[in-house]
Structure formats: C-alpha cells, structure tokens
C-alpha cells in the first residue's frame, strides 16, 4: 500500500543529504512530525477508525453524574448538545479516514486526509479535556465524571495518535477538480443551512462553558477541513457561483429571526451585530479600499444617530420638525457625509500617521461637542451628557416596529423588526461596496492605496477620490446611525467613544481588509463574544489585543482574505502566486 510507506520520501531524501553550506541547513531540518514514534505505522489507520467509533460510542453514554452541568449529560443513550458535537466530529473524522484508505479513496485523492485527521484528533482531545474539566470543576470532583466521558476521551486520544502517525500524501490541487454545478450549489446551500443552524444553536446555548466548547468544536472541525483543503474548494465554487452564495447568505440572514421563536434575547444581540457590521462595512471602504486610516469613524455613526434622535418624535428632541423617517435617514446620512467633507478636505492632504491622528482627534471633538451642546456652552441641541432618551419606535405605514408581529405562525418581536430593516441597510452598503469596488472609482482607490504618487502621475484624482471615500463612508455610517437611534431608544455621547472606533477598525483588520465576508465575520466575532461570554466582556481589551497581535504574526491578511491581499503579505509564496494566476487565466477564458 503506497499510502503507508515508512516516511515522507522528500523529507527523508533531504535529511540524508550532507550539509554543504549554511544554505542547506534549512533543508536538513527534520519536521517534528517525523520524530513521532510509530510514524507511518500501518496500524495508524485502524487505530483512527477505532478511535472515531469509540469517541462516538462514548457520547451515547452518560458523561456526568450530575445533570446540571453543560446542559444535561447524565442520561444514557440520549446525547446532549455537547455530546452531539463530538458525534459530528467523529463522523467527519470517519469520512476522512475512509477517504484516506477504503471505500472513499477517490475522494481522498483530493484531500490531505492525514493532516486533517490530526487536526480533528487534537481538537477532539482539547474538547474532551475541556468538557471533562468543566464537569469536574463545576460538580465538585473528578468522581462525577461518568464512564462515557472517559470512553470518549480515550477515543479522542486514539484519533489524535492516529492522526500523528498517518503520513500525508501528495494531493491533487482542488483548482482542477471538476464538479457538476448542482453539486456545488447543493454544497453552498448545505453550508448556509449549517451556518444558520450553528448560529441559532450557539446563541441558544445558555452557559459560557458550553458556548466555549461549541466554539472549540467549530474551530476544530473548521481547522480540520481547511487542512484537508475543503475550504480551498469551497472558496473556488463560491467564486464560481457568487450569486447563489449571495442569495443563500441573504436567505440565511433573513430566516434567522424565524429560528428564535419570538424571543428578543438573541435578536437584540443580532441587531447589535448588524449595526456594528454595517458600520464596519462602511469603514471598509475607507480603510480597505482607499487605504486611509480612520480612527474616528464612530463619530459618523453618532452624527447619524443624533440627527435621527433630534428629528424623532421623542419628547426630549430639540428640533420641532418631524419629517418622515426616510427623509430623516437621508438627512442623517447627508449630515454625516458633510462632516466627512469638512474634516476630510483639510486633512486628506496629509497621509498615513497624520491622518490617523487627525481623525482620532475628530472623534473626540465630536463626542465632547455632543456632550456640551446643552444650553450652558452653546445651543440646546443634544441635552449634553443626558442625551436624547425616549425615542419612539419606527412606524412604516402602520407597521409598528415596537410591536410583535406574527408571520406564518412565528412571532417576530421588536428586535426582529429592526433586524429586517438593518438587514436591508447592510445589503445596501454591501451593494455599494462591491459595485464601487468593481468600477473606475474602485480601481482608482486601489491605485491610491498601492502608490499614491504613481496614481497622481497617471491622472487619478487622488484628493477627490480620497475625499469621496471619506464622505461616502461617512454617508453609509450616518444611514446606519439613524436606525441605531430608534433601535437603542436613547442617544448619549458616551456611546461614541474612541474605543468603538478602535473595535470597528479591529473588525475590519481581523476579518480581512477589502472583503465583505471577512468584515462580516470580524464584526460578528467582536460583537458576539462579549455578549455571550461575560469573562470575555471583562477582559475583552486584553483578549482582542492578544488576538490582533497573534493575527498580525500568523495571518496578517485577516480571517477571510482577498487572495490578492494574501499575496501581499506572503510574497515568497510562489506556488500561491502561480495558482492565483492560473485562476485569473481561467476566469479570463471563461469570459471570452
């Protein structure tokens, strides 16, 4: 069996070769995996199979003596949520192992199954240790762990050992995989359904420990599948079927409130995530496309919110004009854009660090101004630090956003109503972003980001485009702000502090500059984690700081990177460059 040759042939060849110069030293380094005892042992594969089966079998038995830890894990043959995760992981591992050798070997030719099983196995061990540790700590002793838990842990360890012993083979590049389009579309739909289900489940999980375990599970499976090369393939098919993907993503987002059964608890988090994400997408135009570092972006959201509040029917609103909401949205957006123009026209002549400092100062000026327009130091506009409370809910043609509505037997609460409105706004921002990106203006922006001087020398209106990016981004943020005012009920200056700007920027950088999906992911992570995990909320600055440092070290292009950006940061990756060029060529051929 060629799959179980004693060692990785190329590595072995180089390790035998004598070192001629310091240049060769790198080649001589033996990969740490090759030092694992029993590496390439033919028993690795059956061990893995057995491990996966034991892991699954363990989940059907009781893990915990007490029934109040991590949901209820004390019933035999009735796996709880925490256990079901391990069943899924075990099944994925089984499929991968059967693809490594056995009935699914055809599939295995495309996937780096060994590395993937290793990732899954290590993830499963971490998960089991976390779960058993939680049970032991919370219910007062290791004694409370029932045999099922130990069995699953042994299974996970077997799986991990097998993964370490398996040797990866040469795989075919997924770029050349020919799959029928219905399979691709089905994959996307299934993926979307999984995202919807996963999101609903994750938000539903009550205690922090279960939530962390669920994240660990998702991370291990994602890590395993990405090691196998599945995500490369998914990335490719989603590029091919972009419309299906967009529609699917929108459908999932649209259907999400229907999974909540009228509960407002999760929907309020979801709306906050959406507001945050919509604002981050606007910032993405400024930072990701035009390359302007804006540290005061939250002020534009605030400007929109204050316009929304002062023109609302609140008893504390200071302006006695109550136009319809659509006009308020436009006014808020335009006011924001105007602020962008005012702050941008003198400062966009400076670049880089200077711009960052000026925008940072602008954010503070905005907050302080809003906190002082209370009649003592100026006109009564914002009621100072008290803000404008009691902003009534929106009402579109009799559709009251404050009241629950029943659609198809499912109750949709107040936050679900706002959720749909924000979804529309997010969709508008995404549309503006992608269309501008693929146009003359978008090319100009990218050119400025790449080399400002050359862009100017090629006739690109550098200053005008920068100003437009600034004002356009502000416009979109202002639009989101007007909705935020009604959603939050009150608008106060302390909602728009520098920290919020920093988080917006972190969402853009963490997710991947210049991409829509990346920023959505980044915004979701940054907003969801503190909501679900109180300890993250307490230490969120520490944790995000650490995460950002780690990201800059290991994945500077962001979680979801545009492939171009990936190249920018990993210059020496010639193979990747080659592949991207091939894709470009293929696309060009397809267009022709």
């Amino acid at each position: 069996m060629s799959t179980s040759t004693p060692s990785n042939p190329p590595t072995q060849a180089t390790s035998v070769a004598p070192a001629h110069s310091d240049h060769d030293d790198e080649l001589v380094k033996v990969h740490w995996l090759d030092r694992v005892p029993g590496r390439g042992n033919p028993a690795a594969w059956p061990l893995g199979l057995a491990g996966a089966l034991v892991l699954i079998a363990g989940t059907f038995l009781s893990w915990s003596y007490t029934s109040d830890v991590l949901g209820d894990l004390s019933v035999n043959f009735w796996p709880g949520g925490v256990q079901i995760c391990m069943i899924v992981l075990g099944l994925v591992a089984l499929v991968l192992l059967l693809a490594h050798r056995g009935p699914l070997a055809g599939l295995g030719a495309w996937l780096d199954t060994a590395t993937s099983v290793r990732a899954l196995g290590l993830g499963a061990v971490a998960y089991m240790l976390g779960a058993l540790g939680t049970i032991a700590v919370k219910s007062g002793g290791i004694i409370n762990i029932n045999p099922g838990g130990w069995i699953s842990l042994v299974g996970a360890l077997m799986l991990a050992a097998s993964g370490l012993m398996l040797v990866s083979r040469q795989t075919k590049d997924p770029l050349f995989a020919k799959t029928s389009s219905w399979l691709e579309i089905c994959t996307i739909i299934v993926l979307m359904a999984l995202v919807l289900f996963g999101a609903a489940y994750a938000l539903d999980v009550g205690d922090g420990a279960s939530f962390v375990l669920f994240l660990l599970f998702v991370a291990s499976v994602a890590w395993g599948l990405s090691k196998a090369g599945v995500f490369t393939w998914i990335g490719l098919i989603s590029q091919k079927n972009r419309q299906v993907l967009m529609l699917g993503a929108f459908a999932v987002a649209f259907l999400f409130p229907f999974t909540q059964g009228g509960s407002d608890e999760n929907m309020s988090i979801a709306t906050q995530v959406l507001i945050f994400a919509a604002t981050a997408l606007g910032l993405n135009i400024v930072v990701g496309l035009a390359g302007l570092l804006d540290l005061g972006y939250i002020a534009f959201l605030g400007a929109g919110a204050y316009v929304g509040a002062t023109l609302s029917a609140s008893a504390f609103a200071t302006i006695d004009w109550k136009p319809p909401f659509l006009i308020v949205v436009l006014l808020g957006a335009c006011f924001s854009a105007l602020l962008g123009l005012i702050i941008g026209s003198p400062t966009l002549r400076v670049s880089g660090d200077y711009l960052a400092i000026v925008t940072l100062a602008f954010g503070e000026i905005f907050r302080l101004t809003m906190g002082n327009l209370d009649g003592n130091n100026g006109p009564v506009l914002t009621n100072g630090p008290n803000g404008i409370p009691a902003i009534p809910d929106l009402n579109f043609f009799g559709f009251d956003f404050g009241q629950p509505h029943v659609i198809a037997g499912i109750t949709l609460g107040r936050f679900a109503n706002y959720y749909f409105l924000l979804l529309v706004i997010a969709a508008i921002i995404i549309l503006v972003f992608t269309r501008l990106n693929n146009s003359r203006i978008g090319r100009g922006w990218v050119a400025i980001r790449e080399d400002e001087k050359a862009a100017e020398a090629m006739g690109v209106n550098v200053f005008g485009l920068k100003l437009f990016a600034f004002a356009g981004g502000a416009f979109l943020a202002g639009m989101a702000g007007t909705v935020k005012a009604h959603h939050d009920v009150s608008v106060t200056p302390d909602q728009y502090i520098f920290l919020e700007s920093a988080f917006l920027l972190a969402a853009v950088v963490l997710g991947g500059m210049g991409t829509v999906a990346g920023v959505l992911v980044g915004a979701t992570i940054l907003k969801l984690l503190p909501e679900k995990l109180r300890f993250v909320a307490d230490y969120r600055l520490l944790i995000f700081g650490l995460v950002l440092v780690l990201m800059m070290r290991f994945r500077p292009e962001g979680l979801v990177a545009s492939q171009r950006r990936k190249l920018e940061f990993h210059e020496d990756d010639e193979e990747l460059a080659q592949r991207i060029e091939e894709v470009h060529l293929e696309e060009a051929e397809a267009k022709a």
Binding site: R435, L436, R443, G444, A447, E450, M458, G472, E571, E581
Partner: protein, 288 residues
Amino acid sequence: MTATDTTPVSTPDSSGAPILEARGVTMRFGGLTAVKDVDMTVHPGEIVGLIGPNGAGKTTFFNCLTGLYKPTEGEVRLLGEVIPPKPRAVVMAGMARTFQNIRLFANMTALENVMVGRYCRTSSMALTSILRGPKFRREEEATRARAQELLEFVGLGSSAENLARNMPYGDQRRLEIARALATDPKLILLDEPTAGMNPQETKQASDLIFRIRDSGLAVVVIEHDMRFIFNLCDRVLCLVRGEVLVQGSPGEVQSDPRVIEAYIGGGDDDEDDDAAGAAADPTKEEQQ
C-alpha cells in the same frame, strides 16, 4: 538634422508648432541649483534624448516638466499652454511619464494597471457605478478593450491577468509604458526605460519606442545607455551639473569633446574610451 552645436535653443525640426517648449527652467532646492536655465523644445513625431552623468539633474528636469515640481524660474508650455503645476492636470493636458524606479500598482493585474491609466479619460461617477446604467457598461467595456489593445501594442497581450508584481522586470517596464499610453498622451516621457535590461530587451524597447513615435507621439527619453540613445533619438541634450552642455544630433553630441570630458573626467584617463564605455557604469542616479 541641421543643428549647430551648442546654441541652447535650436529648432531643427520645423514641422509645425512644438508640442513641448521649456524655457529657462531653473529649479533650486534651498541653496542647491539642481537645474539651471534649461531650454528644450520637442516637436511632433520627434524622439529627444536626455543624457548626462549621475546627478546632472535629468530626473529633476523631468519632474519640472510633469508638474511634480514647480520650477523656481522659467516656464513649460505644452501645446502652447503653460502647464499647471499639478501632475494630474499635466496628464489631462496630454503628457504622460514613466518612472526611473518602476512604480506599478503591484497588487493589481496588468490589465487593471492599464485601466487605471484610462481613469482621466473616462467619467463614470459614483452613482452611475452603483446603479450600473448603460453608460457605465459601455464605458467599462470600452476601457477594458482599450487597455487590452494597449497591452497587445507593447507585447503583453497574453499576460493581461497576471499580477504586476509577478511579471518579469522587462515586462514591468513595458507595462508602465502601456499604462502611460492609456492616458492618451501627445508626448510621453520615459525615465530610463532600459535600466537593468539585457541587450535583447533593450532592442525590444527601442523597437517599441519607434512604434510609439510612429503612432504619432513625441517621446523624450532619459538614458544612460549611449548606444541605445544614439540609435534611437533624433536629437540629444546633454545635461551637466544642471545646465545644457551640448544639444544636437546624436553624431554631434557623441563626438563633442566636452561630453566625453564630462563623462570621463579631466582627460588623464584613457582617451580612446568613448562616452558609451563610460555610460556602461552600472551606478544609477538615485533621485526621487
């Protein structure tokens, strides 16, 4: 070519009004006079060479021409109009340039690079781009077609989808020329277009410049490679310490003892060395 050797203003080619007319251009940086009282005239369909030892002020003069610097004294007229001291306005007026050290948009494809060059000749604004009206589609289509055409003109038709950063050095030089051509210039300024090229690539570059000239453009070239410049140009200016030393046909400039002296030095060197030998000196001036 009937130019008398050293007169600063010489208009040998009397084929109509000059495209570019620089008069008494002087550029001072504080106490340093980088360019002093330089006159230059370029006529339609002409290839003018600009040579000079390192630090002679060639690139500074280029930057004055293209609006990157505003000359301390003197004026530059393009098609009879004084050029505005803004690079973008100069491009709009019909003068494009390339850079001594390649300045492509590294993470854009070759095609996109050239499409950026079309920016100043297109007009789709934000709303059209977002709504994707018929005008947008038409213009986008035309931009793409023109960019592809230009890539084929410089011989890069097959690498349209390659990222600029991954292209070979010689191709990057040609891509920069294509990008400059995309702005529909009347006059193109090439700053050391063959720097770092092998003889074969240099040959290709001079063929390309002849083809650009044949398409009706005027060309100004800065070069250190004497063989290249004397084969290529109709007229050559030799700049030394910011001043025009000699101006005339390649033959005249090549044989002028002052040029040889400027390149080689006082004459204690081997006098059989011609200027081309000295120009093979690999050190390049590092301005900009």
